[in-house]
């Protein structure tokens, strides 16, 4: 186990923090929320991020990547959390990109990965079909046809799905036997039977509903079926969960530090309210949780790079704790700020709303405690 970043990863982390603090202030998130950009992220910022190598970071050198690893990219996600930055890095690179890398054949990798890294393609993973994340409850079906597959179903909460050139769709293979076999399919947004609609969540980011009505997919666009597909999907989801946990850690640290500062500045009864023990102990408990979370997030990221068999357990640990703390700490942050904490003018609300959506993405505390118990054999 190593919790420490190497020199390259540290540089990556430093440059991410510098870049986002210069280019992605909270005022930008406000503009995106109120503005007319349907994508809900700034395309020019995404292009700059591509130039910085963020989209190449985790891919192997043989695929044109930088092989910095997830401890490096995790630091980028933490910085994105700190600055509440909206970028399609998770959806296109970690979720869709990892699936193509793990499940795709060499022709598919060649066709898609260079474009993903360069930004020519932007992909989204279409998995969820209900309010609570649960990949085991798929209704979308793929049935075999003479020259490929036919997909039917509805996908909801597709992250960054609006404007994505192509989707990786997870579907249940239709068969006479009752199996849980899944398939992974690349679906272009321009194909017949594909309909994409915007979904608006509290964090004002890009989500879509994807309707698949008898969509024909040629065999070349099928990334895999059966065990291989399940394995690639689960790996990609766990990597994404670790990255979401890193982003959550950044959001939580930011909210915590802002609250701590406020307690030192806000005067009531002629003293800073941070001098009251009742409030001090609440802050000390939150700090304790934050420190524990940081260890879990680093351990999960490290597992991706150097101990993949530990990843499922550590990803669930990190995501469960992130989710639970997103609820607890953000609620405390509002309460400790008092009235100003519930005004829209005050930036805390932007952090709170992003954190509460992140809490649910790819499984909340209840989901991941259940999964942790399963992995532990009870």
């Amino acid at each position: 186990m190593s919790f420490l970043l190497n020199e390259e990863q540290r540089q990556f982390s430093n440059s991410a923090q510098e870049f986002l603090s210069a280019k992605s202030p909270l005022s930008l998130q406000r503009q995106l929320r109120e503005g007319q950009t349907p994508l809900k992220f700034e395309s020019s910022l995404w292009e700059e991020v591509i130039d910085l190598g963020w989209t190449a970071a985790v891919f192997p050198e043989s695929e044109g990547g930088l092989a910095v690893g997830y401890k490096g990219l995790g630091a980028v996600f933490e910085a994105m959390g700190r600055h509440v930055a909206a970028l399609p890095l998770l959806s296109s690179i970690v979720m869709a990109g990892e699936i193509i890398l793990q499940a795709g054949n060499s022709a598919q990798k060649q066709a898609w990965l260079p474009g993903l890294i360069s930004g020519h393609h932007r992909l989204s993973l279409a998995i969820d079909e209900q309010g609570r994340h649960d990949p085991s409850k798929l209704k979308t079906t793929a049935s075999k046809t003479a020259d490929g597959w036919r997909l039917n179903g509805q996908k909801y909460f597709v992250i960054d799905g609006l404007g994505a050139t192509c989707f990786v769709v997870v579907a249940k293979i239709q068969s006479t036997e009752s199996t849980t076999e899944i398939g992974l399919f690349l679906v272009d947004n321009a194909w017949t039977g594909v309909k994409v609609q915007a979904t608006h969540l509290a964090d004002s980011r890009n989500y879509a509903q994807l309707n698949l009505d008898n969509v024909c997919v040629v065999n070349d666009m099928c990334l895999g079926t059966g065990e291989g597909a399940t394995k690639a999907l689960n790996q990609a989801l766990d990597k994404a969960r670790a990255c979401l946990a890193a982003e959550g850690l950044g959001l939580l640290k930011e909210a915590f530090e802002r609250t701590n500062m406020y307690l030192k500045e806000r005067i009531q009864f002629d003293v800073p309210i941070g001098s009251f023990q009742a409030l001090q102990h609440r802050m000390a408990r939150l700090y304790t949780e934050l420190q524990m979370l940081e260890s879990c997030v680093l351990a999960a990221l490290n597992a991706i790079d150097s101990a993949p068999t530990d990843l499922p357990l550590l990803a669930s640990l990190a995501k469960a704790r992130t989710s639970d703390l997103c609820e607890k700490l953000m609620n405390e942050a509002i309460q400790l700020h008092g009235g100003i904490g519930v005004t829209d003018e005050f930036d805390l609300g932007l952090i709170v709303k992003r954190a509460r959506v992140l809490q649910q993405l790819l499984g909340d505390g209840v989901y991941h405690r259940n999964r942790y118990a399963q992995l532990k054999g009870f």
Binding site: K264, Q277, S295, F378
Partner: protein, 395 residues
Amino acid sequence: MHDIEEFRLETRHWLEANCPAAMRLPITQEEIVWGGSQVQFKNEDQRVWFEKMRDKGWFAPDWPKEYGGGGLSPKQARIVENEMLKLGCRQPQFNLGVWMLGPVLLEIGTEAQKQEHLPPMMQGKIRWCQGFSEPNAGSDLASLKTNARIEANGDFVVNGSKIWTSYGDAADWMYALVRTDNTVRKQEGISFLLINMKSPGVTVKPIELISGKSSFCEVFFDEVRVPAHQLVGPLNGGWTVAKKLLQHERAAMSKFSEGAAPSHDALLVAKPYLYDEDGSLIEPVWRDKLASLLMDSHAFSLTHQRVKEEGLARMDVSGPASIMKLVQTEQEVAKYELLMQLMGQRGMSWEGDEFTKEEHDICRLWLLSKTYVISGGSSEIQLNIIAKRVLGLPG
């Protein structure tokens, strides 16, 4: 750099050759070797490992050779510590003297004090206990009242009592805080004394807890004469000495935690109680509660590793290190609470053969664990420390 690598190899080889295989297994409380005049070995491996490390001077590898230490540089001592960790070598002896008092004597003790006290620690011949808490001085330690009167020849005469002294009944010596001036601010009238537990007038009484027998004792002082040269640091400067000493507490606690409190693997204990005879979950809520507990414990052990790793890399770990006592003890409490609840009425077993040993143990440890969050700075004191020192909150 080359020399350091060579030293690492030598150390590795020496440990591999001299640490018996059984002494590389995780230690339990019953297997702790407490150095001191009443030292006891349960088996030959314990004795061999104790003697090899003693003769090497590695009870304290970086203390000067003249006091019986290993004479290593701090860097070399860290290597010894690391290599022991890698091989899983146990601490050859547990000794508050070496871990807490020794470093303070080395820093501020007189030459005579070093000559008198350090070599016996390094021989594992003397066992020390800590005399800080008093019946009316718990969290507010500085309000302590055990009094030391100064005689014409400079000797001290101690009257009063200490409480919660761990293993007071097995200790040879005590380092204690005593009141030497009643007329000044409470922190400024305290002195730090070394007291021979065999002195006339010292009485030790074990304390029975709600859980039964315990290692805690009360120690009473009735006109106990302590020679002037057993004062450490300046007269009325004891508070500063104690603060120095407590700086070593974290390192000592981490050595203690390797085997100190008896504990249970929550999953192993809980599993049979989770299911009905037909193999179905008794009630799903227990599964969620148990998972939650295991995840807390997993997060703590990762944090423990992180602090260790970042500390070795010379990073500032004062933040995460400040949470360790609070979290570890609260998790132990939570664990026994959950196991008790899950066991239902069986969890309340006190005596009798119709219960397993484990059921008895868990009931007692549920009660004993209440002491963990009170002793050594209660959870509330830990929260104060985090709020003030780490978060910089005022007041």
